[in-house]
Symmetry: C2
Subunit: 337 residues, 2 copies
Amino acid sequence: MTATQSKLHLLDVTLRDGSHSMKHAFTEEQVRAVARGLDTAGVEFFEVSHGDGLGGSSLQYGLSAVDEMKLIAAAAEECKQAKISVLLLPGIGIQENLEEAVQAGAKMVRVATHVTEADVAKQHIELGRKLGLKTVGFLMMAHMAPVEKLVEQAKLFESYGAEIVYATDSAGALLPHETRERISALRQHLSCEIGFHGHNNLSLAMANTLAAIEAGATYIDGSLRCLGAGSGNTQTEVMVAVLDRLGYRTDIALYPIMDVANQVVAKFMPRPQEITGGSLIMGYSGVYSSFLLHTQAAAEKFNVDERDILIELGRRQAVGGQEDLIVEVASMLAKNR
Amino acid sequence: MTATQSKLHLLDVTLRDGSHSMKHAFTEEQVRAVARGLDTAGVEFFEVSHGDGLGGSSLQYGLSAVDEMKLIAAAAEECKQAKISVLLLPGIGIQENLEEAVQAGAKMVRVATHVTEADVAKQHIELGRKLGLKTVGFLMMAHMAPVEKLVEQAKLFESYGAEIVYATDSAGALLPHETRERISALRQHLSCEIGFHGHNNLSLAMANTLAAIEAGATYIDGSLRCLGAGSGNTQTEVMVAVLDRLGYRTDIALYPIMDVANQVVAKFMPRPQEITGGSLIMGYSGVYSSFLLHTQAAAEKFNVDERDILIELGRRQAVGGQEDLIVEVASMLAKNR
């Protein structure tokens, strides 16, 4: 990889993916402080939503402590230049949620589906464009589909009007050569911009990020202090330092982005984003990172090894929305003991 | 990278590099528990010494709570198959220390010098061979020398009798393409085996480890829960999972290695090995990871930003042994404020 001085777009997901780690209990004060810090540091886009996207606040996915529309509006108020993204999973969020988010100040929508389900998102992508938003297709659990399938689904997103399509490593399961293969294929077969969203369950978030950039991705996600589901995301402030060393231009200032990470986020995060027993096995077996806290609760309730639950969920190819399977598997393992 | 089924040798440095993070206060009980866990999991080699190697216990480098010879003997007692390595920095450790370590049960010595100083290690390498140890040359701060210089120094080590030569990223400063370039050159110009030791200051320890393996390294260091200087090392138990996914053979069992990480090491580590302000800047500016706690103390004493101290140390190309520079730089920054 050589210095290119090409412009990369960094999108910080602390206030959305981090919602999982915070058990969806972000306060307005926390959101304002992070938003101010990101805006000051020069971050171009950052995402604010429930961890499972607009409308995610529910018994199944976890209730938000503060209404996300209030959080989006608060974040928007703090911004001089940064633009706010929202995540929308069709089936969890509805079109009215998106319209309300735009009222609150959102300028970008990322419509997220399982890697094989892009076709459920046609109307949401079209709505995003109609509302004047920067509109993104977000293919989750990208490790679960062969490269050709991923390309096919990405082309669907592009055909609906998505301006950027992401390959999303929701389980932190991709290896660098798998990331490179996927992003290269997307770059080859699509005309729109390509994005990458990583998780650090195998300690490979930064490796995958660099592989994605080398292969042609121009939109890259990260979170401050890695705050996110599972073992968290590519660490935004570290990525700024690494990209600077590699000669890429992000227009983000290093000390200010470190300051919001270490003086704001580090102060309220409930625990460090280490790679522990459960989160490692999620990456190893390819299980959705947002299943982590649910799995730990089930392991405790049924007195079984959380790793065994996760390996079985991986074997069954469980995907987002199948949270009920966690308890079913835990119960089965307890009975078979 | 493809599955190769070639055998990789993993060397765990928790009980040596982790000594920095523990402020050299490992107890005999902790060392026995870690040694037992590593041995049970099937780890082939692990290292036990003061963080700065044999004889490192001193006011300058930090006093060990328990004599390292006692710790080496205790670890050796716990092992059915694993072999114990010791680190020796000529100038800090002396030949008598090595002889004593062999009495205590050490089977491998890693003779460590700054990347341009291999010639000070001739007699130590020769002594290692004479004592029947697996004998290793360990070139620290490998990012500070051009590739040709690194190769020249590695060839010196090989000429003295080293059976393995390591490129050691002491500052966590190497980028994956730089690691690949260095290990490829060593592989091309040397006949002995090649090793790699990484630090995670830029969240690239695992990326560099995979780059090193692809380029021909067959000895790889890691530490449990990353316990080590700076932001810590490549996380051993995660590496076992990743190498398994890639099809490499390590003969280490995943659940048992995770258990010693999460049920033993995690319980006594004083703080998580996150990438924070100081440790990030060490990787960014290329400063020796074991300087971290000393720098933080100086930053507090002189009320200056630890990052400014580290960036100035990087500019001055400070190397191990120049710990006095930390206070000098901090004092200079305080005066110039």
